[in-house]
């Protein structure tokens, strides 16, 4: 039988961790979206050196465990656990978001870019006004899934004392010695976040499918 007194006694600690998990995931999402868009545009820009930089970034980062990246940002800079964790998550997630956005951009018919360019728009203007607004529709569902992954991956903040839900769980289990029960509650808190997100993504997917 689960020991609910852990939950009630340590509610404020759980909530503190829950809050930090939300904040860290959210900041990392915004930052990795911006970085990911930039890298996606670099990968398809009509300029070889930019393509290379984009490709190297994606291939390099995707193939390193996120745990290693978070350790690296923590050890390389003197930012404290939470900031280092957010940077690590951003760097990692941006590679996946870049791939999702690139796929979205590639799915916009080539004629759209040609029509925009032939009326005198620069590459950047055409991207911003014509291509990206169309690509975003295709990109929203995979982006939602990346966000869910991000929430789960944010548990890695615990290893650099980032103050997140997992970290608070570690502290609670250390002082209560009820490791099993504590982590069940931690898991439930993650579900409170990820299940609605998962439904939200499914809903968006259906809506977007219908609007096409």
């Amino acid at each position: 039988m689960l020991d609910f007194s852990i939950l009630t006694d340590y509610m404020d600690v759980f909530l503190e961790g829950f809050k930090i998990t939300i904040i860290a995931s959210f900041i990392a999402l915004i930052c990795s979206f911006i970085l990911g868009t930039l890298i996606a545009v670099m990968r398809i820009a009509p300029f070889k050196p930019l393509n290379w930089i984009g490709t190297v970034y994606v291939e390099f980062i995707r193939n390193i465990p996120v745990l290693v990246i978070v350790f690296f940002t923590y050890l390389a800079f003197d930012f404290g656990g939470m900031t280092a964790g957010i940077i690590g998550l951003t760097v990692y997630t941006a590679a996946f978001i870049a791939e999702a956005i690139r796929a979205g951009i590639m799915s916009v018919p080539r004629g759209q870019m040609e029509a925009a360019r032939s009326s005198g728009l620069t590459y950047g203007q055409a991207m911003k006004s014509v291509i990206l607004p169309q690509a975003i529709k295709i990109v929203i569902p995979p982006l939602g899934n990346q966000f869910i992954n991000l929430v789960k991956n944010s548990s890695l903040l615990a290893v650099v004392a980032g103050g997140d839900l997992m970290y608070q769980g570690d502290l609670i289990s250390a002082s209560t010695f009820s490791t099993f029960d504590t982590y069940i509650f931690v898991g439930l808190f993650y579900l409170i976040l990820t299940i609605p997100l998962s439904f939200g993504v499914g809903f968006l997917e259906k809506r977007l499918a219908r609007s096409n």
Partner: protein, 242 residues
């Protein structure tokens, strides 16, 4: 206004354009015809640098298209292009489609761009569809919007790549009418089309291409009645008897 001088273009080992020499003067309407894969689209797309020529010289509006110093965006402002599949921006209304380039490229104000867009929509006969989205229009209407989108930049040259080939037969006329009116106003036009009626009525010259070469250049009456080249004759009999 447009002059090709010994222009060649390759895709890898494959030569799409072979020694093209062609001059198009201001106000001329030139119709390009030829079998599928003969390089008509490529020829057209070289003019506004959607395709790069491999060698030779191509001058448009006094600018050398292949020259790295040429500002391609500036060149393109003066050349409208209409595609077989329209390529309207599906996320923008008709009015927004037409206003985009004037706003972004010419820096026109919202009000100025809107007035001008309405003027050209009226000209192509669909001002009542200003707030519709492209998906709500028929093919013929979409193509007329695409023409208005080109005209709103007040270009000196209009390029048309098979503008009616994707249309249902009953909509071809409305698009050709707009193009004929444009030709009669003195617009310089290069049109890839197999519409003989259009060619006979407004073209100054027919250019017949085959396998990347210009095989024959003639005035429409002469070309359609009595083509010099055997391959042109074969091609014409095929499109007339299909």
């Amino acid at each position: 206004m447009i002059s090709f001088d010994k222009v060649n273009k390759f895709y890898g080992d494959f030569q799409v354009l072979k020694d093209i020499n062609l001059t198009i003067n201001k106000g001329e309407v030139v119709v390009v015809i030829g079998p599928s894969g003969s390089g008509k689209s490529t020829l057209l797309r070289c003019i506004n640098h959607l395709e790069k020529i491999t060698d030779g010289t191509l001058n448009v509006n006094g600018l050398s298209v292949a020259d790295k110093k040429t500002d391609i965006n500036k060149l393109r402002r003066n050349i409208g292009m209409v595609f077989q599949h329209f390529y309207l921006y599906p996320h923008k209304t008709v009015l927004e489609n037409i206003m985009l380039a004037p706003r972004k490229v010419l820096g026109q104000s919202e009000k100025e761009a809107k007035e001008l867009a309405m003027y050209y929509l009226d000209k192509v006969g669909i001002s009542d569809k200003a707030d519709a989205f492209p998906s709500q229009l028929s093919g013929g209407q979409q193509q007329r919007v695409a023409i208005a989108r080109g005209l709103v930049m007040k270009p000196e040259i209009m390029l048309f790549d098979e503008p009616t080939s994707a249309l249902d037969p009953e909509m071809i006329g409305e698009v050709l009418d707009v193009m004929k009116a444009l030709a009669k106003e003195g617009m310089t036009m290069v049109v890839v089309t197999h519409e003989m009626g259009f060619a006979k009525e407004v073209a100054d010259r027919i250019v017949f291409m085959d396998e990347g070469q210009i095989l024959e250049e003639a005035v429409p009456a002469e070309f359609y009645e009595n083509p010099r080249e055997e391959r042109a004759r074969m091609f014409l009999s095929r499109i007339l008897n299909h």
